[in-house]
């Protein structure tokens, strides 16, 4: 049977994680041979406090269909308070994205400790399946192809070049 476009869609999920808790948790999931979707690309940061909201924006612009941000549980931060600051920043950033029209179902935050390999698997699987059912994130990709009227030439070749970006 020829696969249709719908069921071949594999979402790209970008995960920004802190090195001390969630990265170790993901590592534990791996060493424990737990299975989870390979859609997730993990980027390691020293702390969730280092994860600038602009990274999330950039991820969407570069073609992510979903973004996960994950770090230590409150009180467990290696740097004492990094995740407390991050919590406020992301609470506000979510509201901003929502206001400009980004569907927040594509953006997930979680606390996953170094001991929670199982929770990592659960969070990644849930987000991947949710995004898979939503289909590709098209807003930012379409936006990247748009021009001010004066610069637009809209030839098929250009369109193709943009599609490949």
């Amino acid at each position: 049977m020829q696969p249709t476009k719908q069921n071949t869609f594999e979402p790209k999920i970008i995960a920004f994680v802190c090195t001390w808790c969630t990265y170790a948790g993901a590592d534990l999931a791996g060493t424990s041979r737990m299975q989870y979707p390979s859609n997730v690309r993990v980027l390691k940061f020293p702390c969730t406090g280092r994860i600038d909201p602009v990274f999330i924006l950039k991820a969407f612009q570069q073609g992510a269909d979903g973004v996960l941000v994950s770090g230590c549980h409150p009180g467990d931060c290696h740097y004492i308070a990094g995740n407390f600051h991050a919590r406020r920043r992301f609470a506000v950033f979510r509201k901003l994205l929502e206001f400009v029209g980004v569907d927040l179902n594509r953006l997930q935050f979680s606390w996953v400790s170094a001991a929670e390999g199982g929770k990592w698997v659960e969070v990644v699987t849930d987000l991947t399946e949710k995004v898979r059912s939503m289909g590709p994130m098209t807003e930012f990709k379409e936006l990247a192809m748009e021009e001010q009227w004066s610069g637009a030439i809209n030839t098929p070749e250009l369109q193709e070049a943009y599609n490949s970006i």
Partner: protein, 355 residues
């Protein structure tokens, strides 16, 4: 190539004296525009985008709204806010670079262009063709027919008359419309392109029947002595005046971006290491970054120095090179400046200064 020879280097046909005068009703003008749109020609005209008047491509002639001076000038029809100049792609060791072919730029009719905007276009021609021939600009120019429209209203920011132009200035227009009492326009041709347009649609035009034209706008400012301004600028690169007027400048690019004659641009690469695009976009001498060197040194290290460059370029440097003034008196910079800097007031100050 230095100094540039004065004269026409663009290869664009020189304007003719008016040798065809016709008349067209508003209804027929709309029919003309609609038929051009149907032919696949891009018709760009003043249009209300929300509450903001802008030159934009029309989908229907009824959308044209010439009531207000558009917020941005008509230069973007030839010198887009941002345009692609090439794309690149990398696969393994193989890099493919694809130039944008200017042949693909759309045929355009620019209609309802204010005299101050149209008059600035030949000024831009000189810059984009004296040494390096900018095919992106010139090809768009070749493919565009400009229909100017005389101004019947002006506000106190308008000063076209001060720089030697007027609400009836035809410089830069291929075809020039002057509104008639009771509707319709007198239509004069100033180039082959303009004549061609009339010839192709002659059933829509009639001979002028001596109808009266509407009274044109009368900007309050009288003609200023540009030679005297230049003579002062020649001698006053260093002057306390610059600090006095430009300390308040906050260093944005609003004045340059709405200006019909400013033409600085930046070239940037955007994309990833795998694929991307090289783009040309507007830049402005008011920005701190404009003259910032890679070393960290910035020769224009304060806002007064940057603002001085704006005035110098408009009334001295450009005159030195091309024998013209880089300002058509549209007054846009006066209206949009966040801190109320008024280029006309500065020229007045210069003219009134003793030395």
């Amino acid at each position: 190539m230095w100094p540039p020879k004065k004269g026409n280097h663009s290869g664009l046909p020189l304007p003719l004296r008016p040798h065809m005068q016709k008349q067209i009703t508003q209804q027929n003008l709309n029919i003309l525009l609609d038929s051009l749109i149907k032919e696949g020609i891009r018709v760009v005209a003043p249009h209300m985008n929300g509450g903001t008047p802008l030159y934009e491509p029309l989908t229907c002639s009824a959308d044209m709204n010439t009531g207000q001076l558009p917020r941005r000038s008509a230069k973007e029809a030839f010198f887009p806010v941002c345009e692609d100049i090439m794309t690149y792609e990398k696969e393994g060791q193989k890099v493919t670079v694809t130039d944008i072919d200017p042949v693909r730029f759309p045929e355009t009719v620019l209609v309802g262009v204010r005299p101050c905007d149209a008059a600035a276009i030949p000024v831009l021609d000189a810059v984009f063709s004296w040494d390096y021939k900018d095919e992106f600009f010139l090809e768009r120019r070749r493919k565009t027919t400009i229909i100017g429209l005389a101004c019947t209203t002006a506000d106190d920011a308008c000063f076209c008359t001060a720089v030697g132009l007027s609400p009836a200035e035809t410089k830069g227009s291929d075809l020039f419309l002057t509104p008639l009492v009771g509707g319709g326009y007198v239509c004069e041709t100033y180039s082959d392109k303009g004549e061609q347009l009339i010839t192709n649609h002659k059933e829509l035009f009639s001979d002028t029947g001596g109808a009266k034209t509407l009274p044109l706008a009368q900007p309050e400012t009288g003609k200023i002595d540009l030679k005297k301004v230049k003579a002062w600028l020649d001698e006053h690169f260093e002057d306390p005046l610059w600090d006095g007027i430009a300390t308040r400048c906050v260093g944005c690019g609003a004045c340059a971006f709405v200006c019909p004659a400013c033409h600085c641009f930046d070239i940037v690469d955007e994309g990833t290491e795998k694929a991307g695009t090289r783009r040309k976009n507007w830049d402005a001498c008011g920005f701190w970054k404009f003259t910032h060197h890679a070393s960290g040194h910035n020769p224009r290290d304060g806002q007064p120095k940057r603002y001085r460059n704006r005035i110098m370029h408009k009334f001295k440097y450009y005159d030195d090179k091309f024998g013209q003034t880089l300002c058509s008196g549209c007054g846009r910079c006066v209206r949009v400046c966040p801190v109320g800097i008024d280029i006309k007031a500065i020229i007045d100050t210069i003219l009134n200064s003793e030395c």
